[in-house]
């Protein structure tokens, strides 16, 4: 795959991991994985995916700051993972 695409993918995953809220984090990472997998199977979508995720990256970076200000407790799934 293209270096530019891989770099963007890594930036999206890193930014998504910064969400402290389980739901937001998992959603962002899951959607990114889905879309980039689709790109791998269908290379014609390259420009569309790059444009979309270049804008999305800025949104995710802003939202991590805002969301983390209002984060309260961790999700019950994370609590169970901690206990295990």
């Amino acid at each position: 795959m293209d270096k530019q695409v891989l770099k963007l993918y890594k930036s999206i995953l890193r930014a998504g991991n910064r969400f402290r809220d389980y739901n937001f984090r998992e959603y962002v990472i899951r959607r990114a994985k889905q879309d980039f997998r689709e790109l791998q199977n269908n290379p014609d979508l390259k420009n569309k995916v790059i444009d979309k995720y270049t804008k999305e990256l800025e949104v995710i970076q802003r939202q991590t700051i805002v969301q983390n200000l209002y984060y309260q407790t961790n999700h019950i799934i994370e609590q169970k993972q901690c206990n295990n």
């Binding site: 795959m1 891989l6 890594k10 995953l13 890193r14 997998r37």
Partner: protein
């Protein structure tokens, strides 16, 4: 008496030899720790061919494509608790390279924390 003479001639050099011995054993333990962590993260990937997992294995041998390679690097960054530079991350194509890069960063972080 010979030791006292050494201290007078080169007090810092005498001390440096002692520290070098300590840091070698510490670095060895650190390397083992980093290796164990990297292998653990690789094992936890669902697509990983565990029977081929070793310190010399490449991502291709383990059944990872380029996207999964990136996911592995990000998972390692999460596990170790710090981000690595993009240029170094691009060079990681196997377990050995991952161990080398993350070991280098861990040693750097340890040395900066000791100085503080």
């Amino acid at each position: 008496m010979f030791v006292r003479a050494l201290r007078l001639i080169n007090p810092l050099g005498f001390q440096c030899r002692k520290f070098r011995f300590c840091s070698t054993t510490q670095n060895k333990e650190l390397l083992e720790e980093v290796t164990a962590k990297v292998l653990q993260v690789m094992k936890s990937a669902a697509k990983c061919k565990v029977d081929k997992l070793s310190e010399k294995a490449t991502f291709e041998e383990l059944g990872f494509d380029s996207l999964e390679g990136v996911e592995m690097v990000v998972a390692l960054e999460e596990n170790f608790g710090f981000d690595i530079q993009d240029e170094e991350a691009e060079r990681i194509n196997g377990v050995g390279e991952a161990i080398a890069v993350f070991y280098k960063y861990v040693v750097q972080r340890n040395s900066t924390s000791v100085k503080q």
